[in-house]
């Protein structure tokens, strides 16, 4: 990067079913919290990037970046605001665009936010909006919605590597347990593997509790040049790398249906840029939109060998106190998954970990990874964050 970038403020709404709160109410709340956290005033903001997957379908509202600027009180300041869309990787990408804006020298103080208001629609319409992240012509028209496609990946993984139904359940068990201490999480209750396995099938072998829920929520972070970060806060978090990669939108065109090459490639570039290896990572916030997606994530991020992700989690390697804790926040499964907000929420949670102020805290965390995926893996964003200035 042309110049290093740091995170000086984070904020979010709680995630959940906010029946009485609107889209604009959510992002304003998250944004104000991030600005207060950074001690930044509205007049200092140079640019804004907003991650949002489908306000057009969920609330019949487009042009949401201007709406965000307006309701944040920044339209009168003429602050440029840009919406970023990459299905449920929109948030991760909004963060990346914000970092690049600062790194390029074009802006000094940038707000990255993500927001989604999903619960105004019924499940049928929600599923249709979600299906927009897959290939409408080649997949969705034939019944391949996102759950069905992840089910296909799960079946292939089980068939090829012997991953078990119970190992998938353990992802949900772990993430619910982690979320019990997360005040912003949608589900703070523990679940047992037996309960996960008693819920109705969504797309066999995936059951209701293998799926992240439909949620309302927003998250925001403030990024500035690393060299000025300590002027804002005492404990900035540094962006060591932000990388992104693409893959075919359709699962059937992929090199391997049990691997997300977009994640692999983005991670490879990010580790290279940050000068770290998977073994250096103290924790990761990964994209468990379905339990099997976390199994794939721990493999594709290099924490486990290909085919051993299920075992890695079932044996506790991904638990807090384990080798590489994944989703200490509770992940998408328990935090909730307001599509466009998730990628930013992951950065918020990773920042809390590196500051030592997380609900379920990983001891001595100094390097964190976030992995945000669009749909079934057409887009992946991988960030490496640390608590000290990179050398």
């Amino acid at each position: 990067m042309l110049r290093d970038v740091a995170i000086v403020g984070v904020g979010q709404t709680s995630f959940g079913e906010h029946w009485e709160r609107s889209f604009r109410d959510l992002f304003v709340t998250a944004g104000v919290r991030a600005l207060e956290d950074a001690g930044v005033g509205g007049d200092e903001i140079d640019a804004m990037y907003g991650g949002n997957m489908s306000a057009g379908q969920f609330i019949n509202q487009e042009h949401v970046a201007a709406l965000i600027a307006d309701y944040a009180g920044l339209a009168s300041e003429r602050v440029p605001a840009t919406r970023v869309e990459a299905a449920d990787a929109s948030g991760g990408l909004a963060f990346r665009q914000s970092v690049l804006d600062v790194a390029s020298g074009a802006s000094d103080v940038v707000v990255a936010s993500g927001v989604e208001k999903m619960t105004d629609l019924g499940s049928e319409e929600t599923n249709d909006a979600l299906a927009g992240s897959a290939d409408r012509e080649w997949e969705v028209f034939g019944g391949g919605n996102v759950a069905a496609l992840y089910a296909l990946m799960a079946r292939a993984h089980m068939d090829r590597y012997g991953t078990t139904r119970r190992e998938l359940s353990e992802v949900a068990v772990k993430n619910h347990q982690n979320a019990t201490e997360n005040e912003y999480a949608q589900y703070r209750n523990e679940v047992s593997a037996e309960v996960v396995e008693s819920t109705p099938y969504v797309a066999e072998p995936l059951r209701a509790f293998d799926c992240s829920p439909a949620s309302d929520g927003a998250a925001a972070v403030v990024v500035v040049p690393a060299e000025t970060a300590t002027e804002y806060v005492d404990d900035p978090v540094y962006v060591e790398a932000t990388e992104q990669a693409s893959d075919s939108l359709t699962v059937h065109d992929r090199r391997d249906v049990t691997t997300l090459d977009a994640t692999r490639k983005a991670a490879e570039r990010a580790y290279d840029e940050a000068g770290v290896t998977p073994g250096d990572v103290d924790l990761a916030e990964v994209h468990d939109s379905y339990t099997v997606a976390e199994v794939l994530a721990v493999e594709d991020l290099g924490f486990a060998e290909k085919g051993e992700g299920g075992e890695f989690i079932a044996e506790g390697c991904g638990s807090v106190g384990g080798e590489t804790p994944t989703n200490p926040s509770g992940g998408l499964k328990a935090c909730g998954h307001p599509l466009g907000a998730t990628g930013v929420r992951q950065v918020v949670d990773a920042t809390r970990q590196l500051r030592g102020e997380a609900g379920t805290q990983v001891e001595d965390a100094s390097v964190a990874v976030t992995q945000n995926v669009g749909g079934t893996g057409g887009t992946a964003v991988v960030n490496v964050l640390s608590d000290r200035r990179s050398a």
Partner: protein, 344 residues
Amino acid sequence: MGAGIVSYGGYVPRYRIRTEEIARVWGDDADAIKGGLRVESKSVPDEDEDTATISVEAARRALEGASVDGDDIGAIYVGSESHPYAVKPTATIVGAAVGATPLMTAADMEFACKAGTAGVQAALGLVEAGRIDNGMAIGADVSQGAPGDALEYSAAAGGAAFVVGDEDVVAEVEDTVSYTSDTPDFWRREGERYPQHGERFTGKPAYFKHTEGASNELLERLDAEPDDYDHAVFHQPNGKFPARVAESLGFSEKQYATGLLAPEIGNTYSGASLLGLVATLDEAEVGERIFFASFGSGAGSDAFSLVVGDGIEERRTGLCETFEDVEHLDYARYAKHKGKIQEE
């Protein structure tokens, strides 16, 4: 003793369909549905039963051996969301059938599943004002659930009638409170055959918010605690919601078990909470206190505090004994009974 319930009666058609049978047709996992809804079977009306016939049957049972007869009733209100006529009252059919016409007032009521308790409050008001000696309020439905919709597992048939007066009262109404807001959680537009609902929106912001709102307000006004009650009855769209709301308010299973009929008969909509009250009065002893709260989508809840008095033994109806003589239908006969398939 102040005004309250003089007599009562409930009626549930003798046909049932099991959750497994509906799940078999739609390819659902019956155990998962039963775990989610806590409904094992639901009642089904006969081919010629509707809200009018069910209301008449419940009204007749309420008057059987009662201290009042049709002539003594000055008002009849029938609450339902499946009145057979869009224009023309069900209440006049009931009035004629029980001999209450012509010197009486009558009207149909609609407030989703709580129209019956709205009728109880209206009749109670007329009695307390001295306008009438006795009034009858009925909640009855042959409820609709679209084929394949989640509602189909619970939408059932049944009704209950309550005679309200200030003489020969067997359960005094200590107080009643309503909690109402404009909340579109469940609706059926004019001309539509089946209702639509807001899925999870029917839970927390609708059923729970309103039921808890009315219940807590009533407890506060009476300076009462859940422990002060021997029984508690709630609207029961399934077996899960009433248990959950009871526990969140501080009532125990021992208090709500008697009035929880949904696991066996499903959701009888306007009849649901009132049938639960019938089953509870059938078991309650003199001096016992009953907490009772309905819920209607749209949305509102009517909460009542009742004290059982002398004479209750003579008024008991044995409602739950009628559940022993039932016939289980397969989906094909169920579809015929419900008019989902018809002779051309």
